[in-house]
Each structure stands twice: as structure tokens, then as C-alpha cells.
């Protein structure tokens, strides 16, 4: 099976802590399931590890925090998008990744 490719953007109101904790939690959870993942952080430090249009196009699924507006949302037009609060991602990253993978698999089955 080809590795599922995820891109994610995390952000939070003060852009200090939750942005990074959510990014780290997603990264750990995705790696556990052998997914490729690239995570952009939008914080007090600006945009780091920016996701290019080409990377967005190549992704199977997009995960975005929903605490505040994400910049560059248009990059992900037409992609399946999962949105969740940063705090929930920090607590439940593995569940969120697993549920995302399950729904991707279900989607794939339908298309066959």
C-alpha cells in the first residue's frame, strides 16, 4: 500500500504553545501509522515549515486547527479537510489520525 500523505497547519490564539504541541502530537501520531506528514505552524514566529502548493496538491488529506483562521486556506481547495481545535489534537492526535485514515480507506473502497 502506498503511504498516505498528510499535510497539516496548526495555529492558536496566542501562537505560543498550543500551535507547537498540536504539531508535535500530529507528527508523532502520523509517524506511528507510517504516514508521511508535513506540518506548517502559523504562530508568533510567523509561518514555519511552509507547505507549498505542490505539496498541498500531492497530499491525500489535510488537517487544520480551527481555533483561529488559517492563512493560505485556498491551497487546499478540493482536498478532504479535517478541522479540529488544537487542544483536542493535543489530547487525541492518535484517534484523529486513525479516524482520518479509516475514512480515507472507506473513501478509497467506494471509488473502486
Amino acid at each position: 500500500m502506498e503511504r498516505i500523505c498528510i499535510v497539516a497547519v496548526t495555529s492558536c490564539p496566542s501562537g505560543v504553545a498550543h500551535t507547537y504541541m498540536a504539531a508535535e502530537a500530529l507528527e508523532r501520531a502520523a509517524k506511528k501509522r507510517n504516514c508521511k506528514i508535513k506540518i506548517e505552524t502559523q504562530s508568533s514566529l510567523g509561518v514555519e515549515n511552509e507547505i507549498t502548493q505542490a505539496e498541498a496538491d500531492a497530499a491525500d488529506v489535510v488537517i487544520l486547527t480551527r481555533d483561529i483562521k488559517i492563512d493560505g486556506h485556498e491551497r487546499f481547495a478540493g482536498k478532504p479537510i479535517v478541522t479540529e481545535y488544537a487542544a483536542k489534537i493535543i489530547r487525541n492526535a492518535q484517534k484523529i489520525i486513525d479516524a482520518t485514515l479509516e475514512s480515507m480507506a472507506a473513501l478509497g473502497d467506494k471509488e473502486k
Binding site: S14, V16, H18, S44, D67, I90
Partner: protein, 161 residues
């Protein structure tokens, strides 16, 4: 700060660490830790800093599971971006409507000054490191403040760039 190799230890000093918080609830814990930051001259104005922390806390609770809370405030009332760390043996129920009991409280004081960019990068690394079981365990079980600072000093900015 040692400009050659900044580490997470640069965010704290011994006297901004309290291994046995007296506080029994979250607002007391935040106030107790803010008091340490004030004593170490990290704040310009404790009252308005605490207001920023309170506003943030009331938006969304900063208890993140894992027995940790990371209350924080970004404010002009912060002189230098710094961190106070408190441990509570009995634990603090962070929110009345949540079962979360916090044993490790990490209070972030954030200045928005460009000059503090390195400290901001260190805060980002600290936040990420808290997801690491070994790192968290090190902070939770350190027998004294010096050992806790040693754990922080092992995480270097240069390893994350």
C-alpha cells in the same frame, strides 16, 4: 543567555521553579508562579500580566491532558520572555467541569519584542518537548531544582534548527 548554545534552561532560573506549590486551585497556582517571575524581575507589571493570562485561560483552558497545564500570557507587561515551573504533589483540578488533575504547571510569560525571538523559539521547543514521555517524566521526577534545570539544559536550540 549563553549565546553559543541556547537551551531550554535559558527560559528559567532556579528561583522561578517551585517543586511544591502551596496553591490549591488554578488561579492561586498561576498567581504563585507569577510571583516568582516578578521576584526575578521578569515582569514590568504583574497585575496586567495576570490579566493577559486570565483572558487567555478563559478563552480555552490551557490544561492539555498528561497532567500538565501551560497557562500563558503575551503582554507588554513582560520584561523578558521567561518561564516559571511549578509542581503540585497533590495535583490541582484545573477546571471545575473537567476531570483533569495537573501536577506540572508551566507558566509562560511572553514578550512580543523582536529581541526575544530566540526565547520564543525556545518556548516552541519546550511546548513540543512536553509531548515526549521521557522529558516530561524528567521534569516530574527531578529530586531538586538543579536536576530539573539540567533536564531543560539537555534540549538545545541548535538541535531543532
Amino acid at each position: 543567555m549563553n549565546s553559543n548554545t541556547p537551551t531550554l534552561a535559558d527560559l528559567v532560573c532556579l528561583d522561578t521553579i517551585e517543586l511544591d506549590l502551596r496553591a490549591g486551585d488554578k488561579w492561586d497556582a498561576i498567581a504563585e508562579l507569577a510571583g516568582l517571575l516578578e521576584q526575578e524581575s521578569k515582569l514590568i507589571d504583574k497585575v496586567s500580566y495576570l490579566q493577559a493570562v486570565g483572558e487567555r485561560e478563559n478563552q480555552v483552558s490551557t490544561s492539555v491532558g498528561l497532567g500538565i497545564a501551560i497557562p500563558h500570557g503575551k503582554s507588554l507587561a513582560v520584561k523578558q520572555t521567561s518561564v516559571a515551573i511549578g509542581r503540585s504533589t497533590t495535583g490541582i483540578q484545573w477546571d471545575p467541569d473537567s476531570p483533569d488533575i495537573c501536577h506540572l504547571i508551566i507558566l509562560l510569560a511572553v514578550s512580543d519584542k523582536e529581541a526575544d525571538k530566540t526565547y520564543m523559539q525556545l518556548l516552541a521547543i519546550l511546548a513540543r518537548s512536553l509531548l515526549d514521555d521521557g522529558f516530561r517524566e524528567g521534569l516530574m521526577s527531578a529530586p531538586n531544582r538543579e536536576t530539573l534545570v539540567e533536564h531543560l539544559a539537555q534540549i538545545k536550540l541548535s538541535d531543532h534548527q
